[in-house]
Symmetry: C3
Subunit: 140 residues, 3 copies
Amino acid sequence: MKSYRKELWFEIPSRRGFVNITPEVGRCLAESGVQEGMLLVNAMHITASVFINDDESGLHEDYKRWLEKLAPFDPSPETYHHNRSGEDNGDAHLKRQVMGREVVVAVTDGRLDFGPWEQIFYGEFDGKRPKRVLIKIIGE
Amino acid sequence: MKSYRKELWFEIPSRRGFVNITPEVGRCLAESGVQEGMLLVNAMHITASVFINDDESGLHEDYKRWLEKLAPFDPSPETYHHNRSGEDNGDAHLKRQVMGREVVVAVTDGRLDFGPWEQIFYGEFDGKRPKRVLIKIIGE
Amino acid sequence: MKSYRKELWFEIPSRRGFVNITPEVGRCLAESGVQEGMLLVNAMHITASVFINDDESGLHEDYKRWLEKLAPFDPSPETYHHNRSGEDNGDAHLKRQVMGREVVVAVTDGRLDFGPWEQIFYGEFDGKRPKRVLIKIIGE
């Protein structure tokens, strides 16, 4: 069994943002030499997500507006108890649960085994600081 | 290490629907010959889900009503920017995030290692067209 | 390839609650002897979650209040069709979808390969009864 590990670093200049990381993940897979196996991509931070969906800017705008409705940003410690700890990112911990922490992708013939529109995104909900994504691949 | 791959095809006759795919997934596992390992089942399309829950029709009705409340269908490009691209399925991309893209299931003694009520479902949010689910199994 | 399996049992004394299971999962990983691989932790019941986030009591209070807003407890079979079956836990099946069934964690050098704040939680949404979590580890 082969195994491979790599970290990707991000510093998103705004509070919220989505970055298509499919090309980087594909390069990691090539580097790993794994032909058949599974690939895990996860946010290493708890106010960020990794998810798979469409690379379409209108959709990303919809996600941002929708998440803001489901879990609005509010620094007040009355709205989010988490903010009593001196943080202002209570909303970001909730948004991340909707979008998810991780994706697991099948590796077949050395490729990301994807449907026609699947792309991997890093989702940031509390940016302006350095954060990491972990890629782990196991297989043969 | 053994690895196995299969696609399941669906064409749901309505816009939304849930299909219990546990028997098909079980047949794939038997075919793979894997006794110990992990099994990934994921939607290959970005307006569909694979999830694990109860096979109870009342619950499925509840999921449909709840998702409609969280992310209502609306073809208007004002409600969902994604619909400016000529699509009318902006809502389906949001619903899919709540229900999830994939499940990973433990394989033990050649069986899906499940609790008493766990069943695997394909969840369609923009049907009436052919779509695929991927099953990937690795192990020994 | 090595594989390892263990069940953890819980009986949460209240309807809803979160338990940090990171230490138990870490002990299982040590017991498995796996140095490089993947670790799956999933709820074996369909009204419970396993998720990764921060071990901060204010945040957990926020999750509870937020989930109650997204999918309020209501034993009425009018509100949740699932409750026509004699259950009163329709809301719990919805809450579990938001928080997720499972997490997959990279194993590197025999450790849970985590970012600085990542902790694994069991999330109960219909407690006062015995329930299980499954830990499956594969690798070398």
